[in-house]
């Protein structure tokens, strides 16, 4: 904040001074200290607005926001810097919560027939409908923003993490052709609580994958 030079009556000798010279100075701003805070806020707002306006046309901005939503930014600091950016009901975010790992993790380990015994259309059904869920899926839905809230938000902790069985959270965000998928595994800790591990990630489709990305990775 700038150092204030108080624009009040203390420096005036008489009401006449105030009514003429001082008032003129104040109303024109000449008596007030330069308002750096005002400019800083406007600059910050302009920068964030620019970021938002470019998001549909610059895939790396959308990807950065998706990584923010999936808690996968390149660093915590970069994630934290983006947090003041308003993102209400952004992207199409879908979640799937499983008590068995995603099917592609079980290849060769479990008979696929056991994962989908009736081999019905349930595979493509909405996981929000319990009667049509694939075996291994305990919940899922379209979510407004931050699909990771399924395990960090209190609701999700209560709904899915009350027992002692591990859970897998399959998260997907889509925006104008870009897509980011993440699978988090949560295992109970002996001392209480749950350990979060990112077990599978897929970078946004439009981005170029650096070497080694996309492999199983533990945090």
């Amino acid at each position: 904040m700038s150092d204030p030079k108080r624009c009040d009556s203390k420096n005036s000798n008489s009401p006449d001074d105030q009514a003429s010279g001082r008032m003129k100075l104040c109303s024109q701003g000449g008596g007030a200290a330069r308002d750096l805070g005002f400019y800083l806020i406007l600059v910050a707002l302009a920068l964030v607005s620019g970021w938002l306006l470019l998001m549909p046309w610059v895939p790396s901005i959308a990807e950065s926001t998706m990584e923010r939503f999936h808690l996968r930014s390149s660093s915590f600091a970069w994630w934290a810097v983006q947090q003041p950016i308003p993102a209400m009901y952004n992207f199409a975010n879908r979640t799937e919560i499983r008590d068995l790992p995603p099917a592609d993790h079980l290849v060769g380990l479990v008979d696929p027939f056991l994962l989908d015994p009736l081999a019905t259309e349930a595979t493509n059904a909405s996981p929000a409908d319990p009667s049509r869920r694939e075996l291994g899926i305990v919940g899922g839905r379209m979510i407004n923003h931050f699909p990771t809230r399924e395990f960090t938000f209190a609701n999700g902790r209560y709904r899915y993490l009350r027992g002692e069985d591990p859970r897998w959270f399959v998260l997907e965000s889509r925006y104008r052709g870009s897509e980011l998928s993440s699978t988090y595994e949560l295992r109970p800790l002996p001392e209480g609580g749950w350990q979060v591990t990112l077990v599978a990630d897929e970078q946004p489709e439009e981005s170029s994958l650096p070497d080694g990305k996309g492999d199983l990775r533990e945090w």
């Binding site: 009514a19 701003g29 707002l45 607005s49 308003p86 993102a87 209400m88 609580g193």
Partner: protein, 299 residues
Amino acid sequence: MVTRESSRRMDDLPTWSSQTDPRLVLCLRLVVAGMLIGLLWKISFFLVADQLHFRIPIRDAFFPEWLQNAQVLRAAFLTSVIFLGTTLATASAKRRKICLPIALAANSVLLVHQGSYNDMTFVTVWWCNVWACWFAWRMSVDSSEALLRKSALVSRAILSLVLLGGAAGKWTQEYWSGEVFYEIYFRERDFWLFNLLRSTSDTQSLRVIATYYSQMVVLLETIGGLTLWCLPRRMAAIVGATVFSAIALMSNFWLFSVLGPLIGLSLVGLVGGPTSRSKAASRSLRRVGPWRSVIHSSS
């Protein structure tokens, strides 16, 4: 000795005398009250959530250790509420200048804590807190009219940004088709509007209504985000308060926690309408445009 004439002149003076202009105090209180409403709107949920954060902790290396700690989250929330409450109640400018930065620090923690990062309440509260810090600091520096003009512009710019933030993430097929809102709200959300629509429409009609609803939201946020900042301040205040109230009333009452602070910030534009003197001044300033007049008065 103060004569009747000089006393009358004193009454006509702008309020940069030793007394703080009550209009400025009202502006600040509107915004702080909005922030407190936002923070306390879901207090019943926050109380349960607080217990759950202790009973079901999760360890994620993405967050620094202290930002996974439930005690830190509880302390940050209480600090924010206590210091904003003090700001609302106090008449002391010095106390306001101490309380608001502390509340901003606490709200910054809430913005990035593992247990609260996903709640947009803390985003809108954070921006309002930035506004309030700046405003409280300038109350003793600027003339009332200059500060009312500048603060109205900053508030409009923040409101535009929030709407733009909502709009930009919806400029995608899944929102334009209504798919997202259909799944989040129309299919099974227990809310008066969606209950009413479900009871009177079949699935196919519901899907069509969801598309129109979603497109209306996208257009409303886009137009608001692009234009609200440049509307006249009273019109912007009325439009902002109406739009933000309508969003909550038509989709989810819980959203008042996110939108309450913004409604408070919108109302700033209603305080301190143009006086006959400032009307005359604005007529001369109009030649150089609204931006020049605000920026001139701030420098």
